[in-house]
Amino acid sequence: MRWTSKLLIHAVLLFGALVFIVPMLWMLVTALKPIDQAMTSPPSWTPHRWVLTEGGETLTVGLDKMPNDTTPDSLVSVGCAYRWLIEIQGEPVPVRFTDGDGPGEAATLNIAVDYHIQAQIDGDWLPAKVQDPLAALAAQDPVSVVVIDADGYTYRKTVKPDQLRRTFDQSKQDLRASFGQSQAMAVPAGSLARSPIDWDDRLELAHVQVEQRQVRAGALSKHIALRWDNFPKAVSAMERFPDYLRNTLVLCVLTVIGTVISSTLVAYGFSRIDWPGRDKMFLVVLATMMIPFPVVMVPLFSMFKEFGWIGTLKPLWVPTFFAGAFNVFLLRQFFRTIPKDLSESARIDGCSEIRIFWQIILPLAKPAITVVALFQFMGTWNDFLGPLIYLTDQKDFTLALGLQFFQSQHGGTQWHYLMAASALVVLPIIVLFFFAQRTFIEGISMTGLKA
């Protein structure tokens, strides 16, 4: 081949490969950005932060991009975020001003602090509603409270004073929790301290104030900063993420076990034993692969409804214990390549069929079983339509369904969390691929070549 055409092929393949990889990279980059960098124009491939260094102190400030033609001494307008704190029992508590936006000139300031009363029920501290909370906290006698649990159920309880506490709201999420209380007070101006906060945290913390400040360009520096904490934040924004993950893993384990056990047995029956009518029956197996899922979708739903399985994980794993046609087909192809003599001599030695299956065929068929198990794992992890139809309760959702649910609730705003959550669903499959690359490629080829 001439070197020009060789160069051309490499260039085209490289360009194509970039196009194929860029969407996934963009997902990862977005997942590591704060939200204000997610939609900048032009797009930025490096999550970063602007740091202001002044008098030995450093602070992350808000700046879209450095204006053109700046010298170190020219002034740049940056966003600064801060809160006013008051110390209550040694704890710094953010305050809001009940008359005006800031402390102003007055000697006495009218402020309020927001807090929650929590009651300890069975070891967990739950938000609680109490009449006259401050008196209840000081009281010596048991008090009657209304608590709300993680599932949103409320009930009345009587708790001892040491099972009652007060927590001050530090974040916006704290403020949103049920049964919020606030306490107004008038304090001397000197008792408040202004505390600067990281520009990225301004959307999450309670009672944040922002201002534009003119600072020297030379005092600003840009650093690459990957927001790894977007991942835990996305997980908590999805609320039920631990449930989604547990359900998905439970389903993956059960469906892989079910598929491997049932498909190997059935494939053995279709390849290693000669019985009259076997190959005609196998044609029926092959024919069932043609049936589109929508054809059986409605009767399956009404059948599972009769069983009382709707809203449980059962419709998603029980059928895998009854051998899918595709897996039987793959395994049968493989079992047929194992020499007949192996079984024959074992039979002459008086081996039972199940022992031949277990001790001779299965160990030899490991590569094919790995392919079937891998594809089943992926199929279950990726499945969307099944969970969409059969699951009703959020706590039973799988990751795929949970991700779609999160997008339908928060899509279009929290892009960084959406991409972080998507990455958490996508990356395990990618990692799996790199561990089992050969199995993947062999498996794909197996599906096609023998068809």
Binding site: M27, P43, M290, P292, P294, P299, F322, Q407, G411, I429
Partner: protein
């Protein structure tokens, strides 16, 4: 078979049936029964809450006059008609490129294959983000000086967007083509080169005939898959899309079954889909008899 079965044969029959019994039970409960029930429901008014009431062919008659049904049929046909040839052509080009003597072949192969295993809901999220107004795709276009359409908001662009994002996942097809290409004897190309055949001529007269069984297989899989396209349009548009432009057949069927509880009508739609798939597969198979070359036939 007759009654003349030897003792050994009878033993084997019992053993064989014992081994395949999971499939027999599974097929009866999760296959045969639902198929028959679905066929019956398709002639019924059925909402899962009440017993199905037989109404003859009314569901099928309704379908003929249901403009939403025809819209979903059109959308699906449009999608299949563009995404299958585009996907196969792209996969073939990439596979031919990967089959050359190139550097870092396995790295390239991984890059092209990886998107095809990404969970579909994750894929949908990525594309929502990329095609979002002012998103990365729009930036790329404006950098080239091109205007950007409303990918997921303009009814004329929704289906092209779905076709484009679907083509991204041709990795499996590429791997199949690549495996087939590697089985084409090198001697064929060598003798063609001696005869002075150009690269396009070689592609047309050697490569494509030699891998025609895989082309046929991919075509059938493509038809079955794209006629049932569900997850990406459902998640990316969050519904039927502007002016029902993303209401694909499977989504329409799903909505009828589980949102409007017209389960009888949904079953009738499913049977129409089944018949269409069978007819198309049959048609492709008949065509392929003329053009598909199986190795070893001479």
């Amino acid at each position: 078979m007759g009654g003349a079965m030897t003792r050994g044969e009878r033993q084997n029959l019992v053993k064989g049936l014992a081994f395949i019994s999971p499939w027999i039970i599974g097929f009866a409960v999760f296959g045969l029964y639902p198929i028959l029930a679905s066929l019956y429901y398709s002639f019924c008014d059925y909402d899962v809450l009440n017993k199905p009431a037989f109404i003859g062919t009314l569901n099928y008659q309704d379908m003929v006059h249901d403009s939403v049904f025809w819209k979903s049929m059109y959308n699906t046909a449009y999608f299949a008609l563009f995404s299958i040839p585009l996907g196969m052509a792209l996969a073939l080009i990439i596979a031919v490129g990967l089959n050359q003597k190139i550097m870092a072949r396995s790295v390239f192969r991984t890059a092209y294959f990886l998107p095809s295993i990404v969970p579909l809901v994750g894929v949908s999220m990525i594309w929502i983000w990329l095609f979002n107004g002012g998103g990365l795709v729009d930036h790329g276009l404006s950098w080239l000086g091109l205007p950007s359409p409303g990918w997921l908001t303009d009814e004329h662009w929704v289906k092209p967007t779905l076709v484009l994002s679907g083509v991204w996942q041709v990795g499996g097809t590429i791997v199949l083509f690549l495996a087939a290409l590697q089985d084409v004897p090198k001697s064929l190309y060598e003798s063609a080169q001696i005869d002075g055949a150009s690269a396009p001529v070689q592609l047309r007269h050697i490569t494509i005939p030699m891998i025609s069984p895989v082309i046929y297989f991919n075509l059938v899989m493509g038809i079955i898959g794209s006629l049932q396209e569900f997850v990406r349009p459902f998640v990316m548009l969050g519904g039927p899309g502007p002016n029902r432009s993303a209401l694909f057949y499977a989504i329409n069927l799903y909505q009828n079954a589980f949102q409007y509880l017209n389960m009888g009508y949904a079953c009738a739609m499913a049977w129409v889909l089944f018949v269409v798939i069978i007819l198309l597969t049959w048609g492709v198979t008949v065509l392929s008899r003329k053009h598909v070359h199986y190795g070893g036939e001479g």
